[in-house]
Symmetry: C2
Subunit: 705 residues, 2 copies
């Protein structure tokens, strides 16, 4: 039975192996943090020297501890860690957290694996190694060597980097952000984001989760837990290695495979995760999301005392996907009392440079009182009549009174007095920034979270397919010890999946060819089937544009005659009679087992669009139909599918259906590693698609992700 | 003779019309700012009530002032401004600055025009109306109603918005940025960015110029002065109305035409201007650019004590166009002493969490001492051994000693102590940020400026063309009172410009047709020429793919016969024999007189790329050959011109040549308003281009920008 992660966050006892009585040593800091954070469970410092640390008796070894061990923190040199871990496991410890570094991150994989294997065999889980420890407000437990005095709050931080973990403990204090937990994952040899998120999703103290990720492992489970978690609370992610150079640096720094950033970006969004560009932005989002009610709709109003900053903010809103309310009659009615003649009730609402604090709050209250308005961005430019102090008082009162039931965010620009007001309001918990871009970025984050969460509510699409037919094809290939399918086998799979492909039959006589042709309809293509004739066209073995049964007969005879002349001894197995695929928009669907995320699918337009313009979208499986449609709509060339220059809309539903079917099969059949349909020709709406060329590769038996 | 703008920035006397003895009134604030800023020239307060303000005798009217008036600041109600301006003009005042609002910005264009016209007739220039005034450190003159106590420095701010002007005076004080000038342009009824930049370009106090622009007028002169200025000092621009919604808001706020943002963006870059996204970023850039030596090359080194933040910074460097040095042997040699075994001498250089301040400065000095390294980004994560105080001391010493001859910028992440160090170093003038993105953004700005400046050094291309032939075509169209050219006229202009078009002749007999054909070469197209036959194909009046003289003869007879049968009474003027244009990559060149920027050109690929994907680049004329090449390379579909899928490179030089020729003609012939070549077919390198369809429109005589 797997250990419950609850014991990592809320252990009833914490052992510190390598506890030290010397201040400044990591083994001292961990004990001192445990004590000063108010941890109420049992603390067992362990050090062969014995003695007392901060009034707590020290055990000489783990085995002499009599109580149950929920968590043991290890801070001794790498070479001694295995023995310590063994001691813990033998004692039945539930979790160990290995702070010590010097394992896989410097190439010492063997020792790390030895520890993990031993732990697994003894039903003990391992956090780290190469971490700063763990803090959890639920247990008032700071079991890290980072700074003390972490204020309890609602943001949980999960970080792959220990150094950034320490820095973020400091930074959250400066930014006045309370934490429910901070967990450093380090080498992720055992416990990873999936375990941690499973706990945090259900943790009532945690309102927002911030993830700092360098590389993803177990992505398929990660996708599941991310989707599950974002349904109940926002997740903000910072993923490094976004750039080529950054990915290289990440690989050399952590040994983790950063993966293609576009894949991560698309799949994170699919999972409802919002991605910040850097730490500063991520922390601002977390703070804002933890304290702000979710908007009930898409109508944001900007209130400003300066036209210029109003325009800059309208620009920022477009950048961050914030929709501005534009019902002018309603706006005029709402702001009738506060917009002077030379101001504007259009959004941005300009209450002009003459606006006093009272005027501002009349406007703000009007916006808060109108249910059609879902969010308010309030801007202030320093002016002769702008009253920062009075403004601050009223803002504090408003928030204290619990009167703010929708997002209301401020941004001021000005001198020292204005800057002091900003700092004061920040401390009072009023969301305010000295840069409109930051304010808009936070509001944008709450809207992204809101929208993505809605999309997650759609159920993954259940797809029916002929599993037996597919298995038969795969079995045959496996018996041949092939890692690929022949083209016709791939087409059989398309058929079994339910993706339309060109109809095709192999005729062994002229009457049979005519029968096929008449039942299939025209135009048709006919091709010789012979393993002895590789280049069919060169042999005169191909006929195109066949429009009636007379032409079928002519082509049949001509192909046979040509091929017999070309290669008299060729074994001719038959003549393939196929539907001639009409011209349409060429698309590509590619699906593969990604090392990070498991089964993923790629969609794009054929020709140069994918190759040269990299115009593609990714998703992980399973997928809802709505998500598949959204994926297709995300490519920049989507207008070509909607129809340009008088062309009609293409069959986008059929494309989405194909995406879902390819994914369902890849998810189900672990034997398949890659499916590429290129081109998948899309016809006009209602006329479906045709999988013209299909390439399917099989997994190596070893790597069966 | 035009007034020298020097008298606006360095007036020997300032009149304040509407001066008031009541504190809080704008007319008082202006006088009090003048006095407290230490202005040494004559101050003449004017108020009908007379008296004394701040110890200065008040004049009852302008006419009673005896001395010369260089600048008069007007702060009386709009209805009285004309009379005051008239008084100033009659007195020979050089400049007036109308602070008063209530003119064109609220639709009162007439009064504004009346003032400007009177001023122009009397050789008096007008700043505003609707402004906050002007501050200039050269004259120690704060003639604004904004905050006082502006610290003198090297950044000049030119702002269209007065409200943002006031706010930025405050903000620059908070950010510790000294100003050489701040000028509010308001309605730009007369004095605009062009006048101001002409002064600031030559002003020794000004090292960096920041422009806040809502809409551009006189763009053609603006392009010239921007190019001239950025050769000697950086210009940072914030342009609002970037988004659709923002542009709408800008139009309703200022009445200025925001124009297409992509045009502004491309042309600003062409002029060497660097564009910031918001005010905060712009001010950070200005501060950094004013204090930092220009890099001598493209090699940046990141020094870090944390791998994670190093990777995030590598990402940020890619985003901001910063090139990371990658000569590993040189890096290893340079950082041999400071990188421990488990650190990395690869860029980012990881001196590990064990790095002390001394270690840091050994690394920094090593980087400063290596001439192959041109810029250093130094990161610090709070850690047990990180010594913020000691670090700060050493950084201050380094900068004070003048030992920093290349960009060196810091970013720290951590708690209160780290944050205090950041604030302390900011005040000491050491470039430091608590967000790596901001640090990278500043370094990116200095590199953008550096690169764009280099490109400006190339001389605009001089293009030869047959001006007389072009004028003849235009004259004929004007005589016909046409605003467009016929297709063959447009082709005549292509010929005169020197852009290859399909060869074409009109034959009036079969022998003539054969002669033309034989001299032109094959394949050819033949078409009937008859104003009576509109749809030539329907009449059988077109023949394609003519490959030899026999086919010429056949086609000639066939066309005549078909057309005679189709319309027996048609007057057939001849048979056009034209080069049949080979298939190639279709491009589009469009050139027009832009309301903001004058003659501009657009380039993109034909078909859906321009229409659907909006993949276009703009430039203003004149243009250097290098800039034309760069413009072409900026489109996302550029790889299609370089050759994909085994295709050869297209004749990009010929495309650039066509861009330059189209531009030169548009610039020279004010009669032409639009030229569109669509398609301009590009062949393989060395084989040139063909202007297949050309559309040319003529300017209306009224709007002759």
């Amino acid at each position: 039975m797997m250990q419950d992660v609850k014991y990592l966050f809320e252990p009833r006892s914490v052992v510190v192996i390598g506890a030290s009585s010397r201040a400044g040593k990591l083994g001292h800091t961990v004990v001192s943090n445990l004590v000063s954070s108010g941890y109420q469970g049992k603390i067992y410092p362990v050090n062969p020297a014995g003695g007392v640390i901060l009034g707590i008796p020290v055990y000489r070894d783990v085995s002499s501890i009599t109580g149950e061990i929920d968590l043991a923190v290890i801070v001794i040199p790498a070479s001694a860690v295995f023995e310590a871990a063994k001691g813990c496991a033998d004692k039945g410890a539930r979790f160990i957290a290995i702070i010590t570094s010097g394992f896989s991150e410097i190439g010492n994989v063997e020792e790390e694996t030895r520890i993990i294997n031993y732990a697994r065999q003894h039903n003990m889980r391992v956090l780290g190694p190469n971490i700063i420890g763990i803090y959890s407000s639920a247990a008032s437990m700071n079991a890290t060597f980072g700074p003390g005095g972490i204020p309890a709050g609602n943001v949980a931080i999960v970080t792959q980097s220990g150094a950034l973990g320490v820095a973020m403990i400091g930074k959250t204090q400066v930014e006045n952000i309370g934490l429910s937990a901070i967990v450093s994952l380090g080498n992720k040899a055992d416990v990873d984001e999936v375990d941690i998120l499973n706990y945090l999703a259900a943790d009532n103290n945690t309102k927002v989760i911030m993830l700092y990720i360098e590389g993803v492992t177990h992505g398929e489970s990660l996708v599941d837990v991310l989707k599950k978690t974002t349904k109940v609370k926002p997740i903000v992610v910072v993923k490094s290695g976004r750039s080529k150079r950054g990915a290289m640096a990440a690989a050399s720094h952590t040994g983790s495979l950063a993966g293609e950033d576009k894949v991560f970006d698309d799949i994170a969004r699919q999972c409802g995760v919002i991605r910040a560009e850097g730490l500063q932005e991520a922390l601002e989002w977390c703070k804002y999301l933890a304290s702000t009610p979710e908007p009930q709709g898409e109508n944001t109003v900007i209130i400003t005392n300066g036209g210029g900053i109003g325009v800059l903010t309208a620009d920022a809103c477009e950048k961050y996907g914030i929709n501005l309310y534009d019902n002018l009659p309603d706006m005029k009615k709402t702001f009738a009392g506060v917009v002077p003649e030379f101001g504007s009730a259009k959004n941005p609402v300009d209450i002009t440079g003459q606006a006093t604090a009272d005027k501002y709050f009349t406007a703000i209250n009007a916006a808060l009182g109108n249910d059609n308005i879902n969010a308010v961005l309030c801007l202030g430019c320093e002016s002769g009549v702008f009253e920062p102090d009075k403004f601050a008082l009223r803002a504090e009162d408003l928030f204290k009174a619990g009167a703010v039931s929708k997002p209301l965010i401020f941004s001021f620009v000005g001198g020292a007095e204005v800057e002091e007001t900003i700092q004061r309001l920040k401390i009072s918990g009023v969301p305010i920034f000295n840069d409109v871009l930051q304010a808009a970025s936070c509001l944008g984050a709450i809207y992204s979270n809101h929208r993505q969460k809605k999309e997650l509510l759609a159920e993954p699409e259940q797809v029916e397919f002929d599993a037996k037919a597919i298995q038969d094809v795969l079995d045959l290939a496996r018996r041949d010890a092939r890692r690929f399918l022949y083209s016709y086998e791939a087409q059989l799979i398309m058929h079994a999946i339910g993706i339309a492909n060109p109809a095709s039959n192999i005729a062994h006589s002229l009457p049979e060819a005519v029968d096929f042709a008449e039942s299939m309809g025209y135009p048709l293509v006919m091709k010789v089937v012979s393993r002895d004739i590789v280049h069919k066209s060169d042999a005169g073995g191909v006929a195109l544009d066949i429009d009636n049964k007379e032409e079928v007969a002519d082509a049949y005879e001509a192909i046979l005659a040509n091929c017999r002349q070309f290669k008299p001894d060729a074994l001719i197995e038959g003549i393939e009679v196929s539907e001639q695929v009409k011209h349409g928009v060429e698309t590509i669907i590619g699906a593969r087992r990604d090392l990070s995320f498991g089964p993923i699918v790629m969609f794009g337009l054929g020709g140069i669009y994918v190759e040269v313009m990299k115009d593609i979208a990714f998703r992980a499986f399973p997928l809802s139909r709505g998500e598949a449609m959204k994926m297709i709509s995300e490519i920049k060339t989507y207008p070509l599918l909607l129809g340009v220059r008088g062309e009609k809309r293409r069959d986008i539903d059929a494309l989405a259906d194909a995406v879902l079917r390819v994914g369902a099969v890849l998810k189900r059949f672990k034997d398949i590693s890659d499916i590429e349909i290129n081109p998948l020709v899309a016809y006009e709406h209602g006329e479906g698609v045709r999988a013209v060329d299909v390439r399917i590769l099989l997994s190596s038996k070893e790597v069966n992700v």
